[in-house]
Amino acid sequence: MRSLVFERNLPRFAASRLASTLGSGRGAAVGPLRLLDTEPPALPGPGWVRVSPLLSGICGSDLATLDGRSSRYFEHVVSFPFVPGHEVVGVLETGGRVVIEPVLGCAARGIDPPCPACARGQLGNCERLAFGHLKPGLQTGYCADTGGGWSHAGLVAHESQLHPVPDAFLDEDAVVVEPVACATHAVCDAALGGGETVAVVGAGTLGLAVVAAVSALSAAGHVAAPGALFVGARYPHQRRLAGELGATAALAPDQLGRAVRRKTGSLSMADPRPRRPGGPLTGGADVVFDCVGSADSIGQSLAVVRPRGRVVLVGMPGRVHVDLAPLWHREVRLLGAYAYGTERLASGATARTFDLAFEVVAAHGLGRLVSATYPIERFEEAVQHAGAAGRRGSVKVAFDLRHKEARHGEQPHGDAHGDAHGDAHGGEQRHSDARHLARSTTSGRDGRPSTGGTS
């Protein structure tokens, strides 16, 4: 059965690195990712089950891996060859739909007693990612033993990784639970105070998920409600979605600093005499979620955060060149936010991040973030689309594996709704598409930033 397999192959790795300079996602065609016939992975032990993926998303970290831009730090927590795909909704052999919580912590690795982090329920911080009876791998989708979501051969998952999907959820809703869980973790971990000014830099899947998480969790009383939530987004559809998901204002990136300055009544540190007053702010937002992870976005986050404020890195950074003088001088807290585990809520209660993520997805119908799906046979196109998602008016691009028989030369799926440039891929409509289309008729183009709630 066909799977997308990522092998350790240095020349191909170098080629993908080179090709990615032409644009994010271009590396897939020449890189180490190949479509192969594979056998289903063997069950590593008791407590493990087989899962057949229905939808599997393409994540920013997947793109970085395919483009050869991923940090070498991850070399030790990955085992080759692996089948990528950690945003997975699948179906069990018993018939139930599940979302996979991909982190391969102590429970999955059969390590008992668990490491201190796992003992505390902080699965994302597991200290045994390269040990136990599994090959190294920080998540399903990076481990040679478990298989991954981009495959018709299916994957194996430990029962601790399974989250049953409510019947009301579409497959599209379920596939975004994993990224929403990342955002939920970041939001819970940022320890929002009431009435704080929050800025979100970047409005791809993660940025929009953070916006949704802030508004849904604060509405449910799980976290304190911010005073204002500003989103800096490059593309009009992102601004429209951010506004719908509860942003106070969704703005073009160059407007974010001005809006934060106005809201917080701060000054700008530059000398006013030159033509362009507007250096870093003297005050700024209390919390900034950087949902991109590039040098530019981290730089912008540091420019709009107040002294002693928090910058939460939600998007995966790599080796970036950033001026840390403002961080040092303004005593900014720079926080990482990876994966998920157990969250402490405003009420003092604890909850599993994935359970909260299901709530967030349900509250906002986040399945609408899935803009296009592709069969795995057209992975080059899919990855290119994911790499240019913003520019092409899309958010999340996913592989559709519901079509069980992987015939050769299959037509692509035609699910291109919400794709503002109309690059539809032909093919027949899927059963879920009709329902899905009904919900996403709000799409439209807006040449300029819109303010949330009022536009």
Binding site: A249, R262, P272, R448
Partner: protein
């Protein structure tokens, strides 16, 4: 040849196309037959001896004032205030009228042995002038004599130490003005009265006032009831200023008002076609038009802007009068009407206007969308006496590229106004209620206003209030050639060509509307019967 008066032309089959300004460009548009085009009167003949005329005015003042030398004595405090960079438009060729007048005033002060003299640029909430602009307005001699010792100052409406509250008028309006000016033995105000709304009590009561004082007449309510503010008797803006001016006079501030009027010789000889009637264009005019239009088509907007902003108008002095404020202003207003007045019969359904590259608030700067609206709906719409040129519920068609572009140093609060306020509402009353306070007190804007060259935080609100009368009166505003996003943000409709705009207007005013084109600049004032 005596200058000809203004003209209302009825377009017929043999009328050549009409010149429309379009920002840093101009275009020729064929107007429908039966349209009217209002042309400004030709420039009046300048005074032969401007310096002599100025001296004569200072020595023979109007109203209840002694000649200037009699008002000067050693040991007195003398403050000389002057209009800022917003006048005249475009900036005039050197020497500026302010320089000519102030050199005479200062010569008299020097002769009288007055030691304590301070010059004040009456900025109100405008941006501070740069050194080059001050040198241009006052001349090097005045600049070099006063600037190095700090005696050349610019009014700072946010300096609590240099403001004094003189009282409140009968209508509860606070009068708070520049302290140095208010506590001087004599306040000489040097005006350039480019249009009829300039001067009079507005000079001191507005030019030297603080936000606390200005908000009593710079608000949507006053503006809607200023019909128009070019016609002081029917202008609530001026009534308020007159009440304040009388209070200022009553509280013992002695103002020696000097008002000057210029002719409408607006463009240098090379650009003469811009102020000539199209059917009288000579071969040279046509060649210049063709060359300029072709060159501008190939010039990047930034460069074109620089070229246009380096134009210095050959404006010449046509009258100067000095003395007591109200007596002086009556004569000045008559002189302005003599130069700019045009009689127009009846209103029109559609008023078209081509907006040039410059407005009072973007000298040496960028004409941002708010200033486009203000120039069209604030200034040009209000160039009337009697009743508006366009009927109630009618349509105004502006011709301007309206780029989404701001000068971050000069107009920082405009950017936020455009992004934050106008994206919420375009209703002046709503805007003033919800947002004005927070912009007026934003410390960053205050800082930039006081130390940089930025307009005050509340200034974009005033620009929008200037449009209030027009927004209240009109059925629709269409901008030809404007950036659609910027135009829509302001609640107007973008059109690509004039023909499209006329088609869109027909939804509001019907299939066979009357159309009038305001052929300006040069400036004119329509006396609408």
């Amino acid at each position: 040849m005596t200058p000809r008066p203004g003209l209302v032309l009825e377009v017929d089959g043999s009328t050549p196309p009409t010149l429309f300004w379009h920002g840093e460009r101009f275009v020729l548009e064929k107007l429908p037959e039966g349209s009217r085009v209002i042309y400004a009167p030709e420039p009046l003949v300048p005074l032969e001896d401007p310096v002599g005329a100025i001296r004569h005015a200072l020595l023979h003042p109007l109203g209840d004032r002694d000649p200037l030398p009699a008002l000067l004595w050693p040991g007195m405090r003398l403050t000389v205030c002057f209009d800022d960079v917003s006048l005249p438009l475009p900036p005039m060729q050197a020497p500026d009228v302010r320089q000519l007048v102030m050199e005479q005033v200062l010569d008299m002060a020097a002769e009288a042995g007055v030691d304590d003299v301070v010059l004040v640029a009456a900025l109100a909430l405008h941006r501070r002038m740069t050194e080059a602009e001050l040198r241009h307005a006052l001349g090097d001699r005045i600049y070099e004599a006063f600037a190095p010792s700090g005696l050349l100052t610019q009014h700072d409406a946010e300096d609590p130490d240099n403001l004094v509250h003189l009282g409140t008028t009968g209508k509860g309006e606070d009068v708070e003005i520049n302290k140095r000016a208010a506590t001087s033995d004599l306040l000489v105000y040097v005006n350039i009265n480019l249009v009829a709304m300039d001067g009079g009590h507005k000079s001191v009561a507005t030019g030297l006032a603080s936000y606390r004082s200005l908000r009593h007449h710079h608000n949507p309510k006053t503006m809607v009831h200023s019909r128009s503010f070019m016609d002081a008797p029917s202008s609530e803006l001026h009534s308020s200023n007159w009440r304040m001016g009388r209070l200022i006079a009553d509280s013992g501030v002695k103002v020696f008002q000097i008002e000057t009027t210029l002719n409408t010789d607006t463009f240098p000889r090379q650009f003469g076609f811009l102020q000539r009637r199209e059917w009288e264009w000579s071969v040279r005019d046509r060649a210049m038009y063709a060359a300029a239009a072709a060159a501008l088509d190939r010039t990047p907007p930034r460069v074109a802007r620089q070229v246009f902003h380096s134009i210095r108008a050959p404006h010449a002095l046509v009258s100067v009068q000095a003395g007591e404020v109200e007596a002086v202003h009556a004569v000045t207003t008559a002189n302005i009407w003599k130069q700019q007045g045009v009689e127009v019969d009846g209103q029109t359904d559609i008023l078209t206007m081509g907006l040039p590259y410059i407005s009072p608030y973007n000298v040496n700067s960028i004409m941002n969308p708010i200033l486009v609206a203000c120039l069209g709906l604030g200034y040009f719409f209000n160039l009337y006496r009697g009743q508006p040129l366009v009927r109630r519920g009618g349509v105004v068609i502006l011709h301007h590229p309206t780029p989404w572009e701001f000068h971050p140093g000069h107009h920082p609060s405009y950017i936020d106004f455009f992004e934050e306020v106008l994206s919420d509402t375009t209703d002046p009353v709503e805007i003033s209620k919800t947002y004005e306070e927070s912009f007026a007190t934003d410390p960053w804007y205050v800082h930039l206003y006081r130390t940089g060259h930025a307009y005050h935080g509340v200034h974009p609100f005033y620009m929008w209030y200037w449009c209030a009368h027009a927004l209240d009166h009109l059925g629709r505003v269409i901008v030809v050639g404007g950036d659609p996003a910027a135009v829509r943000r302001m609640g107007f409709s973008p059109a690509t060509r004039l023909a499209d705009a006329l088609e869109m207007a027909s939804d509001v005013v019907g299939r066979s509307p009357t159309l009038t084109h305001l052929h300006t600049p040069p400036l004119l004032l329509a006396d609408v019967r």
